[in-house]
């Protein structure tokens, strides 16, 4: 693989079997995600979404398979890959006792930013997520929506080429969700790639260029929202298709 690859992400036969587990969390997943694409990864609880995001963001090693980010083998050169990616975890991965500014200043320094550039980037991302007025408020005083926006700002701070978002809009108000959607579109326009997991089907249908529904570690369906729906004409919307593919049984 070369750095000039047209793909932001190349995944070949990715598998992950946790120690002591009977079933693999990921079972031979192969995928190509183009640069500048918003890609939705949908699936019920335990489908393997978070495992996939963890491997793609270099936190975890797969049992087998190959991953390249922006043409760089992430298993061989994780540090190089990390310079190009951003992660917005499902949790509000910020220090509640620090202000948004302090959180971003620290995380920015870990990304290698500093000085006036860091300051400018912090101002920029806080403005982008509408938190410039409350930049010096502690995170634990923020509303749920503000926390989610601050979480997104931390992921955007170092202008990553590939941004992984694990359910970034869970449990927030409509206004914050709308703002996050707009920001994701803006990030896409800047040329960055977004890999995005969510349980909100209408959100995925509205935002994603392409999506995959996975369950039990395997991709069940892959394509643009229109292509996916076209393959299942009896389903009225993505939500119905999701239930048809993954079943109606409750998942823990």
């Amino acid at each position: 693989m070369v750095a000039s690859s047209p793909f932001a992400l190349e995944i070949d036969d990715l598998a992950k079997l946790y120690e002591g587990a009977d079933q693999p969390a990921l079972d031979g997943v192969s995928l190509r995600i183009r640069r500048g694409e918003i890609f939705g990864l949908l699936g019920p609880n335990g489908a393997g979404k978070t495992t996939a995001i963890s491997i793609l963001s270099t936190i975890m090693q797969p049992s087998s398979g190959r991953v390249a980010v922006c043409g760089i083998d992430s298993l061989k050169h994780p540090r190089q890959v990390r310079r190009r990616i951003g992660l917005v975890p499902q949790d509000i991965a910020l220090y509640p006792e620090l202000t948004a500014w302090e959180n971003l200043a620290y995380l920015g320094r870990l990304q290698g930013l500093g000085g006036r550039h860091l300051k400018a980037r912090i101002q920029n991302v806080l403005q982008a997520v509408g938190l410039e007025q409350s930049a010096h408020q502690k995170i634990n005083t923020y509303s749920g929506g503000m926390k989610r926006r601050a979480n997104l700002a931390a992921g955007m701070l170092h202008e990553p080429r590939v941004l992984f978002l694990d359910e970034p809009t869970i449990g927030i108000d409509a206004q914050s969700r709308q703002l996050i959607m707009e920001k994701l579109q803006a990030i896409k326009k800047s040329g960055a790639t977004i890999i995005y997991t969510t349980h909100y089907m209408e959100e995925a249908q509205q935002l994603c260029d392409r999506l995959a529904i996975i369950d039990k570690g395997r991709i069940l369906v892959l394509g643009t929202p229109a292509e996916v729906m076209a393959g299942h004409p009896h389903c009225d919307n993505l939500g119905e298709l999701f239930l048809e593919l993954t079943g109606r049984a409750l998942r823990d």
């Binding site: 936190i59 951003g86 992660l87 975890p89 991965a93 992984f164």
Partner: protein, 446 residues
């Protein structure tokens, strides 16, 4: 390096905002060292372990007072005080001072004591030389009055009374011999007159024998004191020398609670996951965190030393003494203890799954290690079995090293085994934590 410094600064900022954490780290050991030292000082005082302060009231101003003063001044650990606020107190004031605990006892020599002693000694000498047949002694009793602080313990009280009995006996023997020396020529003369009759009239009267009374205080039978244990005699620390290093170590090791909490919170908040996806070595993050807590430990250590040096003397305790130890050796021991504590903090933060687990197990393990390590009760005061068990406690290693330096005049070589043990302990903790961390990440438990 940039990330290391950023992490250390962030951690210090978080600590500054954690008021309860700061209380645990600074206020708790500071209060403990003050309270425990003052309490132990008082207990040791009532047991006579800290020396004996005697308020000495001599209304007689004669031979008995002079000899008692001379004898008590030579006794080990006895401090004689004759005045209160620059003047000699009356008996009632003196007794109030003793009852308040200012002195362990008051020795009161009433007026006429010397003449009573002399009279009684003369009568005893007369009886001994069969120069009088009277057994009834009309002279007043010579009573030395001793008033103890009511809190003074029985054993110490008996020891003091025994010491006074010996002194009184020495004065008695001396005075009786003086009287014998005076009466002996008379006795010879009358014996000669009785045996020789008128022939003795021309014989010269014998002079008084000059007794050298030094021998009365020279023991013929000596008592040798030794420990029943085969170990070498160890110099015991005072309450201050024991407690200042002990509670500073307790404070240092209590760093494990906020430190482990910091790791756990990062994990629970998802910050750890975010950091792991960044182009930074996690080792730099852990090192930065450890550096912040190590800095806090140094501040704690300095604070407790200042309390020992400055505050405790203001409250009536002796000042903490660093002894003859080289400063660098003290720094090395403190550094190894701090390293051990931070290593344990890293391990606890990795093993514990929740803050509740860490906040329960961390303090309990530290309190047990402190109890075993001679922090609360000196190791020498423990039963032999507990003394043997205490060698497993890192706090015992650190405390022993400090006592070696501050009390027994030890040097670098003397503390190297303890320093090495603490370093090995720190390495073992960090090594185990690393293995557990890698295993956890492999299992996908963020």
């Amino acid at each position: 390096m940039k990330q290391f410094i950023a992490t250390a600064c962030k951690e210090l900022l978080l600590l500054r905002r954690d008021r309860s954490g700061l209380l645990v780290l600074f206020f708790m050991p500071a209060v403990l060292v003050l309270v425990i030292t003052l309490v132990q000082e008082n207990v040791l005082k009532t047991m006579g372990e800290t020396g004996t302060d005697i308020l000495f009231l001599d209304q007689d101003r004669g031979m008995v007072g002079q000899r008692m003063t001379a004898a008590l001044s030579e006794a080990d650990g006895v401090v004689l005080v004759n005045t209160l606020d620059g003047r000699q107190p009356d008996k009632a004031t003196a007794l109030q001072a003793v009852a308040r605990g200012d002195f362990q006892l008051c020795l009161y020599i009433p007026k006429g004591m010397t003449s009573a002693v002399k009279a009684k000694a003369r009568r005893a000498a007369l009886r001994a030389l069969s120069m009088t047949g009277e057994s009834d002694d009309p002279s007043p009793d010579a009573e030395l009055e001793v008033y103890f602080d009511p809190t003074v313990m029985g054993g110490f009280r008996s020891a003091v009374k025994h010491m006074l009995h010996l002194m009184v006996m020495q004065i008695e023997v001396q005075e009786k011999l003086d009287q014998v020396a005076v009466l002996l020529p008379e006795k010879f003369q009358s014996a000669l007159e009785e045996a020789l009759g008128p022939m003795a009239a021309g014989m010269p009267a014998g002079s008084s024998p000059d007794f050298n009374l030094q021998w009365t205080s020279e023991p013929i039978i000596k008592i040798r004191e030794a420990s029943a244990l085969e170990t070498a005699a160890v110099k015991m620390p005072t309450a201050v020398q024991q407690n200042v290093p002990a509670w500073s170590l307790f404070g240092i090791f209590f760093i494990v609670l906020p430190m482990a909490g910091s790791f756990i919170k990062e994990r629970l908040y998802g910050v750890e996951q975010r950091i792991l996806s960044m182009p930074v070595s996690y080792l730099a993050i852990v090192a930065g965190k450890a550096a912040a807590y190590m800095l806090v430990c140094w501040v704690q250590f300095g604070l407790i030393l200042i309390i020992g040096k400055v505050l405790l003397p203001l409250m009536g305790s002796p000042a903490f003494e660093l002894g003859s130890a080289a400063s660098l050796t003290v720094v090395l021991v403190a550094f190894s203890a701090i390293l051990g504590a931070t290593g344990y903090g890293i391990l606890l933060g990795t093993v514990a799954r929740s803050y509740e687990q860490a906040s329960m197990f961390g303090p309990i393990s530290i309190v047990i290690a402190a109890a075993l390590g001679g922090i609360m009760v000196p190791v020498y005061a423990m039963p032999v079995l507990m003394q043997k068990i205490s060698v497993v406690s890192p706090l015992a290693w650190a405390q022993n090293a400090f006592l070696e330096l501050f009390v027994r005049g030890g040097d670098l070589q003397a503390v190297m085994p303890q320093v090495a043990l603490l370093m090995i302990f720190a390495s073992a903790c960090v090594g185990t934590a690393s293995l557990l961390f890698i295993r956890r990440i492999r299992k996908g438990r963020f």
